[in-house]
Symmetry: C2
Amino acid sequence: MKEMEEKILKEGKVFPGNILKVGNFLNHRLDTDFLMEVGKEIARLFEGEKIDKIVTIETSGVAVAFAAAAHLHVPVVYAKKHRSSNLSPDVYTAVVYSFTHNRDYTVYISKEFLSEGERILIVDDFLAMGNALNGLMDIIAQANATTVGIATAIEKGFQGGGDKLRAKGIRVESMAIIDSMTDETIVFRANDH
Amino acid sequence: MKEMEEKILKEGKVFPGNILKVGNFLNHRLDTDFLMEVGKEIARLFEGEKIDKIVTIETSGVAVAFAAAAHLHVPVVYAKKHRSSNLSPDVYTAVVYSFTHNRDYTVYISKEFLSEGERILIVDDFLAMGNALNGLMDIIAQANATTVGIATAIEKGFQGGGDKLRAKGIRVESMAIIDSMTDETIVFRANDH
């Protein structure tokens, strides 16, 4: 998605440790109209597929997942990272390693919100090593539901997670794939959409 | 909003300790089309006001805030509850007491995402004691911006936070106001919209 590449070049900031800050439009501050366009593009890419539900992970995945869901007219379920007193005890869980924070954390989805046989599109803001997405796919498999594909706003291609998923036959659509980045240059992978 | 009252009666569950679970449509699972209608109603109620930005608080405020923003065509900034390594050190903060979790927590907004003179609509999923909203208003005041009003999906009127805010002259619009609730009956306050 050309608009995503332009947005990253214009508003993204690269920091040491392979960190790309896009707090100006994708998390913390949400560029609503832009994210609705991103959601429309995700819906267009998956329009031939039967999709019952979108699954994402709090917090930064919620806005882009919701924007895609608004165009696909399906509900969103977001995995929680914190087990609050409001969460049902009957949950699916997965342990995810966070590269950014260098620790494991557990994600939860209430069993009542995933059903056997459902066809699920996973949507998230970032794809780097793919750990969070693997955790979500694990939870979807626990529910005997099917992951139809994965859509992400920004893929850090140089971290390899996206290509590992593709090598397993999973359809992964990223609105922009970064093949390399420094504080001076960001190189995108050629992308036909 | 009649549809919100109907939704609460149909899908909400009352638990001891004045807890209303609406995880089926407002948090955890998001009923996208319904929340887009809620966002449309919020936009309609505030259509006469100049609004530059919506402010909410992660995670459960994000979807309804984003839905309202999609109709108002303004950005959303969400306050963070966790100080991640990606967050700028230059932040506004407020300490909020959580009735649900019986503890204080700190919320953060990066200074770069609030500007002096901006006119802000606060949107959140719940209004009970009003502690989170008071924290957000405090942060907005620190930035020398103005709170135009507050819109919430569900107000627990019997906890008094909404009426205290109204008594201070703040415009508070809740899609449904619950005056009392037990596991058998939920009584809504008469509401002209």
